[in-house]
Amino acid sequence: MQYLGIQPKRPKIAVFDFTGCEGCELQLANKEETLVDFLAAVEVVAFREVMTDAGDDYEIALIEGAISRADEEALLRQIRDRAGVVVALGTCACYGGVNRLKNTFDLGEANREVYGDKPKETSEVRAVGDVVEVDLAIPGCPVNKAEVERIVQHVVLDVAFSFPAYPVCVECKQRFNICLVDRGQLCLGPIVQAGCDAPCPTGGRGCWGCRGPARDANVPEYLSALKEKGFGEDEVRERLGFFGAFEGAVG
């Protein structure tokens, strides 16, 4: 199938799952109406949690999940060596995600809390980009399938794509929502990267920032505005820390 007379490439893609909920992988199989065409555009060679033999042949590696164990780190490095393009898929891969909350506790304590007297080997949670070089980061908890499709089209046929430079508020306003902040609810919309089409504010729930900071986000000003509006520091800090995406962005 050609588009504008051009034959799209059909790259070999492998999907790897690290510390995450597999929700992003599930998203790849979502949107049934275009699933067949999506799978025709790429050649999925592996959808797996572990790599078996050394003969795996793929150009693009989609990495889901954060890195939280030594064996994960070693595996990720192998993948980096093998793949031409490494894609961090989803918030866990991009920022560490919810898993990153673990870093705020003592590691031993966290281990005991979860595994009791059968502790597991564990390390600090890191984003994929903290371990190896990442060529493309697709944020979202989970990723937005429509956006993933457009990125795939960009990869296979150079159809123009860029992440929005604006924050969630633009999409929220365009969906004709009443601003939740005006109704007394906390929302990170003004400092969070759009592209999700603002499902959370549309559903009546403030943005939790799963897509990470918007380009040139004015975090300090927004935080002082929230304070002035009476939002508590703890509530705001918890919100910002939830996906681990604002580390460094807050003082």
């Binding site: 199938m1 430079a165 604006y166």
Partner: protein, 347 residues
Amino acid sequence: MLFKTVSKDEFEKLVGIMLESNEVVAPTRVESDVHGDPIHEYLPVESFDEIDLNYETTAHSAKTYFLPYRENLSTYTFEAGDWGQEIGYRAMPRILLGLHACDINGLLKLDKVLARDVFPSPYYVSRRQNTFVVGIDHEPCDGGFCHAVGADTVTHGFDLFLTDLGETYLVEIKSSRGYSMLGQVKTQDVSDADTQAFKAVRHRITEQFTTDLDIQDLPNLLDMEFESEVWTKWGEKCLSCGSCAMSCPTCYCYGVEERASMDWKTGSKSKRLYACTIVDFAEVSGGRNFRPDRKTRLKYRFYHQHRGFVESYDEPKCVGCNRCGRACLVGIHPAEVIGDLQREERL
């Protein structure tokens, strides 16, 4: 100019007639804010009871009914080496009920750019022509400064315009379709008492404007204050979130995007409203950005509203509705920014 009066009962009947064969969009109470004050929006309604004509303002302007936030401009199909194109202009009639004078003035400004300038937009024109506009007088809204920018009254751009005289509405009829529409219910000729009552209402409304904003020499002032610290003060607050332009009745900037379907059989070109305060608004290929910082972007938003537009069309683009100020989560209110500039000049 033709005036009639219509009783409120008859008016309700008229809305019923409108609803029978048209989509009717009207101010509707949707939420309450943190202080318990009502928040309204212009939304499609199915009955008269959903309408609240006694509203202060709406969070979004009505521009989306003329200039949708997202609009498909053209669809392409590709088949066997050939291609086809389909362009659809919306032509369904719609009634927009209860617009205030500022918002009708806003439409007149959009008309100047999108219907009467060198390149009229057929997308806009088709919607504008197929929308029957009913305006209504109201008490000044909190923080609005429509009178300062000459947008508190309106002389055309609508089909019918209502003034609430208590038991009746005084109706100004501006078009033949407005005349026919109103002709479907019982109306009365305007009596001397009605005229007196109308004048009293207008007087009461005018008396209530309190903002002492003078924009007479604003274009010159903006020239002189190009490097003013005022821009730093307000600009550094700006979140570049675009909510001001999204809520504004007269902001029309947009971006165009091409998309392909996943099966490669169709493509589309669509438009999405944009805002000059967004970080990449003036970014060009190669990554160069002509307005890289917040304060420059915010300044140019004010420059378009109160200087650039005046140069092109002899009037400001802003109608003083203060929707941008209400939407702005860091409190950038246009009247305060302009007031600051004027104080700066007096120093």
